[in-house]
Amino acid sequence: MATTLKGSGVSPGTGYAAAHLLVGSIPEPPKGAVHDGDAAAEKARVQAALEEVAADLEARGERAGGEAAEVLSAQAMMARDPGLADGVDELVDAGVSGERAVYEAFGAYRDLLAAAGGYLGERVADLDDIRDRAVARLTGAPMPGVPGDAAEPYILVARDLAPADTALLDRNLVAAFVTEDGGPTSHTAILARAMGVPAVVGCAGATALVQGTLLLVDGATGEVVIEPEPAAAQAAVATARARAEALSGTSGPGATADGHPVPLLANVGGPKDLEAALANGAEGVGLYRTEFLFLDRADAPSEEEQQAAYRAVFDAFPGGRVVVRTLDAGADKPLAFLPPPGEEPNPALGERGLRMFRRHPDMMAAQLGALARAAEGTEAIPYVMAPMVATVAEAAWFAEACHAAGLETAGIMIEVPSAALRARDLAKVVDFFSIGTNDLTQYAMAADRQVAGVSELQDPWHPAVLDLIALAAGAAGAAGKGCGVCGEAGADPVLACVLVGLGVTSLSMGAPALPWVRASLARHTLDQCRAAADAARSAPGASEAKEAARACLTGLGDLGL
């Protein structure tokens, strides 16, 4: 019988492929390791490994082209270096094992380059990469890094994934993600949903899997079956594909089965995300993150540059709403063109979001001005909202600034618990709310999103979080104003029904989740959503809340959820 690992399913879908373990570093071959006495054979073995590494680097360079090709071909030259080969041969002749000889021969050059510093010092990382690749080949250990050149789709298995690991991932080659750590708002989960790749996070035992093991991953249930019966696995994949087709069968504006409209909007990080949003039937944009305009640059973007970026998104949704979130920077995402923020032991609780605008009101004025001008003459309905609002005074200050700039619809994010608790007062001074469930959960549960050890607490299913959402949505509804959700919670097709039941009026999410949420809403009535919301809030904990809600949502089975 096949063994099964269990984690949290955070991105639905089914993947069946061989595991590729992402390893951080290759262990140093033990000092004093010797070979079996046949020096000639050992030398040939090392030479073959180095040549394979070189050929692999070269082939990847050719595929990548441009600057990457040059860098990789220089690395290939290093792997083929005759001086290095001489060093290896000498060591092997003295009895040292091949992998240890590689390690030591590279070490000699490594020290020289590191001592030189500057440009040469930076080549040390290249050298280490080649060394690790050669040692991995000699010892049969998994290759470091994400495979850039896999011929077949693979399942990426790692402790956790960093943005640097995933920058070059090819959607067509990654069948699924499985990580040992991480929660529903980890980088892996967000990336997987953005790519539309199935993912299981927080999966104990994942990193102990053997390289190349066939896995069947269910991104909805969180099950990872090791070496499944091939026929059954292929059937599961076929079922998942059929289900995906059922999903694409639901189209049009978001609504419950009984016709209660719930506009389905897309989260976008810039004009580059518009294509996916439109392809998945977004009715507008529920969260336009504007940070991309400001981060990683020496000077503030000009008003013209800002206008062009905003205009591109407005123009994509004539007649639709586009909710723009003003700059959300802080000590963890400092801006090079502003005076450095003070040292903050916990940037999540520091001077970020609207708090930063309070210190730099000129930045806010420039952004609001650019937004107002970008909105002129477009057919989109611009909404503007501020992140990290804690008090009525902050909300009123922001709304007045928006109105003064000529932006009619000004709202705030509800992500600080104080804002949810006092939503009734806040609803009097702003035009709409949008709940950022990731941060609201982090702050309500006092569980840092960056800390894997508290990932169980970073779950929006916790009834305390649902209570805060109910408070905010209820206050908005009583004031006749809208209350959307733009956090990851809205992308969960089960939780989406609960949110609607709690009184949320629109849902915004990464584009690939839109068909799932649309299909899930279409299979349930507003009454069922309300019953699910009541059941969830009556539960004592997150997992019980999810179970209780699922019991009320009878249409989930159709979708394999």
């Binding site: 220089a74 270096d81 001086g83 050059y109």
Partner: protein
């Protein structure tokens, strides 16, 4: 043994692309090719790691040596690579 002595003019010195081109060109020759910085010990010019480790910067003098058929032509070619601004 035929030699060329010259001053490296490239901004990056004998690093990066000039170093790679230099080593690739030396590697085409069946003969031994060496390069030395200043009065230092010569190293294998076919070894990118050895050439990089010389840490030749703009303005440094280097001596390239080789022998055999076509030695002069090879030295001309290597000197023009290493001496190019």
């Amino acid at each position: 043994m035929p030699q060329r002595r010259l001053i490296v003019e490239a901004e990056v010195g004998l690093h990066a692309r000039p170093a790679a081109t230099f080593v690739q060109t030396a590697t085409r020759s069946p003969a031994t090719v060496t390069v030395a910085k200043g009065d230092g010990a010569p190293v294998n010019a076919k070894s990118i790691l050895s050439v990089l480790a010389l840490d030749v910067k703009k303005g440094d003098a280097i001596t390239i040596s080789t022998e055999g058929d076509g030695a002069e032509e090879l030295l001309d070619e290597l000197a023009s690579i290493a001496g190019a601004p």
